[in-house]
Assembly symmetry: C2
Homo-oligomer: 360 residues x 2
DNA sequence: GTGAAAGCGCTAACAT
DNA sequence: ATGTTAGCGCTTTCAC
């Protein structure tokens, strides 16, 4: 009741507790509390409570040069891949008193640069980069200025950044192994953009897996998408399947796989009757499609929490080592890939009822 | 080349330009540039460029008590409704030099309070609230402390907040009119949570629309979902349809509508053959379901840009008036609602091919 | 264990 | 039109 409209400052608290502001500061900060007598500490924090004191983070930042804010760069928040990762980041950051600034780059280097600079201007304490296009100049700049950086869902050969990503090769291996177990041998791949590390890693995984199973990969059995988009998925699906001969497709991600569904319709192919397909990411709602898409699940949320953990480590323990963390993916079997024996059975017909209710 | 490692400060610029720091400040700030001779202004900004000067927003904030940061409270970023809105907000804010802090409340009042308090502690200049549960204490608190607030996708009868939302009643009217034009008369409604203003408004719209068409609404023709979730959609779908008699459903939103798809399967109903359904929101990917969901489209992104505009107005022009803005929804016709004459034709059968490729 | 003093980088009164 | 002065609220030397 003794407080005015103006929020209480540290000075007010000090006065109320009958100590010097410096002492009040020490008493209130976990890191310095032990420098102050127990009794004074109590008096100060009582006074703080009484006055409803809230430390001013701006003033603190000015002094300490720590904003407790981190920048997160992603291509596009509308891509359903990212919201869970962001939540993971934010939830973990919140536990440590940090907040995130989200920046969308729209896969545009100029925009990426703009957002990055703005965040630096705002003195973020570090970055989570989920947008690292290989060769993007901000990587070099970040490395040079040694602002703490963690790569999420990306890795870098060129710079010593900590990163957390999914073992993409292993995921594709699981997908191929599943198809092979179902009897497929003529398996195509729609490769994601090769300047994204996910696209390249999954393509490597595809070749490795096919080699493991001693299956040949001819020209035309791999087509390259220029973006992770429905449109590119449809285009690549057409290019891959129009020649005929393939019975299964491993798509570079779910977007490409769903785009493929459109190509199937155009080519008069029935999925999964004529052609099996497996995606990557296990996007939300992907289990609601007809047929529900089998996909390599990706622990999105954990990717975010781990990235945040790594970043905070690096911010708070200056010389913490670089860590490269891989999380294991998991194949989620639904209705879009079926045994080869079934092929042809429903050719041209409506989607099979059986395929409609895969395990989710 | 003359700069050291430490970033240049205003004082450095002033020295380099041979003026007092205050003059340099005036020269560099758009609002005060006219207080300074053209020649000095040029000299100062040249020096600034030369030194690579970047103003320190933290110091500026401490002085001006403006953080150029705004808080955005939403229930859950994972809800696909929100990413486009957030992008709208961020894109518009960026044009004005603001950034957004996103807070997820998970529809939990305690968490909402926590996030709200943290953002206030960080001295955000204003809030976009998309989470306003009727009676939430933060509304009262915000009103009292008169921090600028704009409600997004919510309205408030109790407090004088600017808001931008979709005309929900009109949207439901359009949905009902469409169904009536298709010959339906026994139309049910799955109402969203009545403590969300969208849920209440859409229910009002349903009753109004049915009255307009002189169609009776009996008990049991409206069921209430306790949340906008797939589970509640399935439950309500069962409750609504198990008794039989209805030929069409207007769902409170797309989640509820998609949940309904599950109920249809359980009850052996074929959509759209036996039962038509229309959703609300036009969520991403909703056009990829079988059948593609007819839905009332909702200009998500614009909701965000308009909310940001309103908020900035209010922040920068202290006494700008309260504005209540409604954006018009638009019915998107796809395959989940068909003429009544078709009912029964495909009863119990697999989804009709024809229904699979609605206009998107 | 506590106080004194200084200053982070900037801008707003107030002079002149 | 420009300089002077002061201070936003906090943390950190450095004394004692």
């Amino acid at each position: 009741m003794a407080h005015t409209d103006r929020p209480a400052t540290l000075r007010d608290v000090a006065t109320a507790a009958g100590v010097h502001p410096a002492t009040a500061s020490r008493a209130l900060n976990p890191g310095t509390r032990l420098l102050v007598s127990e009794e004074t500490a109590r008096r100060v924090s009582d006074a703080a409570d009484r006055l409803g004191y809230r430390p001013n983070p701006v003033a603190r930042s000015l002094r300490t040069r720590r904003s407790h804010t981190i920048g997160v760069l992603i291509p596009d928040l509308n891509n359903p891949l990212f919201p869970p990762m962001i939540r993971g980041i934010e939830d973990r950051l919140a536990e440590h008193g940090y907040v995130a600034l989200i920046g969308n780059t729209d896969v545009d280097l100029a925009k990426e640069r703009l957002v990055f600079d703005q965040m630096r201007a705002r003195h973020v304490d570090g970055f989570v980069l989920a947008t690292a296009i290989a060769g993007s100049p901000i990587l070099a700049e970040a490395a040079e200025s040694d602002v703490p950086v963690v790569l999420m869902n990306r890795t870098s050969q060129e710079y010593p950044f900590s990163s957390v990503s999914v073992d993409n090769e292993q995921g594709v291996r699981a997908a191929v192994a599943h198809l092979v177990a179902l009897g497929h041998t003529r398996i195509g791949h729609i490769a994601g953009p090769q300047d994204a590390s996910t696209g390249a890693a999954r393509l490597r995984g595809f070749h490795a897996a096919m080699a493991t199973h001693k299956l040949p990969v001819t020209d035309g059995q791999v087509v390259y998408a220029s973006a992770y988009s429905l449109e590119e998925g449809a285009r690549c699906g057409r290019d891959l399947l129009a020649p005929g001969g393939l019975t299964a497709v491993v798509a570079g991600n779910d977007m490409l796989a769903v785009g493929c569904y459109g190509a199937f319709d155009e080519l008069g192919l029935n999925c999964p009757g004529d052609i099996s397909v497996i995606g990557f990411n296990d996007m939300p709602f992907i289990d609601r499609l007809r047929p529900p898409l089998s996909s390599v699940r990706f622990p999105h949320y954990q990717l975010g929490t781990e990235a945040a953990t790594l970043l905070i480590e690096r911010i708070e323990a200056a010389e913490s080592p670089v860590k490269i963390l891989f999380l294991a993916p998991e194949l989620v079997v639904r209705g879009s890939a079926v045994p080869l024996a079934d092929a042809g059975e429903g050719a041209g017909a409506v989607p099979l009822r059986r395929a409609g209710r895969g395990r989710t």
